[in-house]
């Protein structure tokens, strides 16, 4: 029988609540369209996004409380844009610490300063720090307010039986096991995914030897919210140490284990105390008292499943891939998976696309993971050199960087960025993508635009397809409306946003005033009648200089994986 810990986890800043376990009744539960295994940030986000598309789900969580320790603490702008879609970005902004500067130090000298760009059109900062428990809390509260989601605490997936058209999920609880039938199972059960093991699936890629201690301490440090990276400090020669600020006076320390030291040795209180004291002495704050909240050890890994769709089971987040933490790629990649999976799956569950459509989710997100692995590999090879040659080069760069400007960009910490689905099968083939001189192209994530005080383009989109129609006129042309209404009659959520005039446009769901032409300029729109079609993840799948009904119909068919005849 599954017996999750029912005492609140210890923490010096967060009050854990133990939720009641969900126990099976006498009658077995009925079939549900979707079961999501794992209520971490990624599973919670997918559940909320599915609900937004009108698809109910059962969300199973093995534990009865939020995750232990701060874990993922840095969230990117794109993650915030996705969290905005599911309604929690405001709370993250209210409690988190936004930032955009990073510093790399060697021999007491700041050898590189990263300045992440912050466009005046962006609502969110490049990065914001918040402990994962708080983000999970906001997401759980949103889930509890959503009648389409049934969250079951203390429910652990222990078996998966795939049938041709459904899946039987074996679940263990504190009151014993039961079977939950579902049309689809989503594995969001983390780095040690039980479902991945049950289906005997293997991750592919390289696992580096570099192991890091990760520790949260409470200390009053008079430092700004910036990332600090210390290379080759005297107290940990040859290795790398990272420092990040978290809310509530907590600081995250990451340091590499010296070669040959085991995690058990590294986590001994006296070993930790000595090293944290050495770091504080190095940065001139040896006098400050501190106390430990949480610590753990992780390895820098760079692995992915080669396919995220297996029968009726889909993988996302750490269950699908393990990515190095440099560049904040774990949770931030997971949110993009969750958003992508939710809308692809919603289209299938609602009968708007065939089951084969889910292969596109897998193709796009495996492609994203492979791109991230390639990028992350460069950072990993610099932070934790995997061989003598890489170590020599890294050390040569550290030494040169004290005086030679040209090597300093090698310190650049390639941060997580949204993947561009440039060659997606869902991109329109008959549109005017190539004619645009500016704006997001095929498969690109959207460029946010500031429309006014506390008012941005991305505040207005999501929950379905969005058609941005740029016009000087007073009505959406009737042939376009006919196409849109025919799709709506089949159940597709498709919103028309008229961009341009300060006056309402008949037939549009809303009008976005662009009287100064700023949005038109950034989206490369020279004249009235142009349009952008955004997928439910807001990535661009078609854009036209002059939209007509035939080409809109063709683009929507392509975006839903239906054969285009022309």
């Amino acid at each position: 029988m599954h017996q999750p810990a029912n005492q609140p986890r210890p923490s010096i800043y967060y009050d854990y609540q133990v939720f009641d376990a969900w126990l099976p009744g006498a009658t077995p539960p009925g079939r549900t369209p979707v079961v999501i295994a794992g209520a971490g940030p990624v599973g919670l986000t997918a559940a909320l996004e599915l609900a937004r598309h009108g698809v109910p789900c059962v969300l199973l969580e093995a534990e009865q409380q939020l995750s232990e320790g701060s874990r993922a603490i840095v969230f990117t702008r794109r993650s915030m844009e996705i969290l905005q879609q599911v309604g929690v970005a405001q709370r993250v902004s209210a409690h988190g610490l936004p930032w955009r500067f990073g510093n790399s130090w060697y021999r007491g000298q700041r050898v590189y300063r990263l300045e992440a760009p912050h466009d005046a059109d962006d609502r969110f900062f490049p990065m914001i720090n918040l402990q994962q428990q708080y983000l999970e809390q906001y997401l759980v509260e949103a889930v509890l307010a959503e009648p389409l989601i049934e969250l079951r605490w203390g429910n652990k997936v222990v078996g998966v039986t795939q049938q041709e058209r459904h899946v039987e999920v074996g679940v263990d609880t504190p009151a014993g096991p039961y079977t939950q039938p579902a049309d689809w199972l989503v594995a969001s059960d983390g780095a040690r995914s039980a479902i991945r093991s049950l289906l005997k699936l293997k991750l592919e890629g390289a696992s580096y030897e570099g192991r890091f201690v990760i520790a949260d301490i409470r200390i009053a440090l008079p430092l700004p919210t910036e990332r600090q990276a210390f290379f080759d400090p005297d107290w940990n020669p040859g290795n790398t140490v990272l420092l990040h600020r978290e809310p509530h006076g907590i600081w995250r320390v990451d340091y590499q284990l010296p070669a040959g030291e085991t995690p058990e040795e590294a986590l001994k209180p006296e070993a930790m105390r000595a090293r944290i004291n050495a770091l504080l002495a190095q940065i001139g704050h040896a006098d400050k008292p501190w106390e430990m909240d949480w610590c753990s050890v992780y390895s820098a890994r760079n692995l992915t499943l080669p396919d995220y769709l297996h029968g009726r089971t889909l993988f996302m987040g750490d269950a699908a891939h393990l990515l190095p933490i440099f560049g904040v790629r774990g949770a931030n990649t997971g949110f993009q998976d969750a958003q992508s999976l939710a809308w692809h799956l919603a289209m299938v569950v609602k009968g708007l696309a065939q089951a084969g459509y889910l292969a596109n989710y897998s193709r796009e997100r495996v492609g994203a993971a492979r791109e991230i692995i390639e990028e992350a590999g460069k950072s990993t090879r610099f932070m934790t050199p995997p061989s003598r040659g890489f170590r020599l080069l890294r050390d040569a760069v550290l030494s040169l960087s004290l005086t030679q400007e040209f090597v300093r960009p090698l310190y650049h910490w390639r941060t997580s960025r949204p993947h561009e689905y440039t060659h997606s099968a869902l991109n329109s083939s008959g549109d005017d993508n190539a004619l645009f001189q500016a704006g997001p192209g095929h498969g690109a994530p959207p460029q946010n635009i500031r429309l006014g005080p506390d008012d941005y383009l991305l505040d207005h989109v999501g929950g379905g397809f969005d058609l941005l129609y740029f016009t000087d006129g007073s009505a959406i042309p009737a042939p376009l409306l006919q196409v849109v209404n025919a799709w709506r009659a089949r159940g597709l959520a498709l919103h028309i946003h008229a961009v341009g005039p300060g006056h309402p446009v008949t037939g549009a769901d809303q009008t976005l005033p662009d009287t100064l032409g700023h949005l038109r300029q950034r989206y490369g729109v020279p004249a009235s009648g142009a349009a952008y079609l955004l997928r439910p993840d807001q990535h661009v799948c078609a854009r036209w200089m002059t939209l007509d009904a035939t080409r809109l119909q063709a683009a929507l068919k392509t975006a839903l994986g239906q054969q285009e005849s022309s």
């Binding site: 020599l392 080069l393 050390d395 040569a396 760069v397 030494s399 040169l400 040209f406 090597v407």
Partner: protein, 63 residues
């Protein structure tokens, strides 16, 4: 064949002496690090990754 500018014999002799002296100056523990730094500085001045790769190939011959 080789049309790129090359060292004159006196210049090559001077490079020879300077490099040997610098390796001795760096000492056995730091000579390797010194040579990698030097290679990176030269590669930057060369500003030609393909040519640098060719040099790597030539230097790996007959070790």
């Amino acid at each position: 064949m080789n049309t790129s500018p090359a060292l004159t014999i006196p210049a090559l002799e001077s490079v020879y002496d300077a490099l040997a002296t610098a390796i001795d100056q760096a000492g056995p523990e730091k000579a390797e690090l010194f040579l990698v730094k030097l290679a990176l500085l030269n590669a930057n001045a060369l500003a030609d990754p393909a040519l640098f790769a060719e040099h790597i190939g030539r230097a790996l011959q007959d070790l």
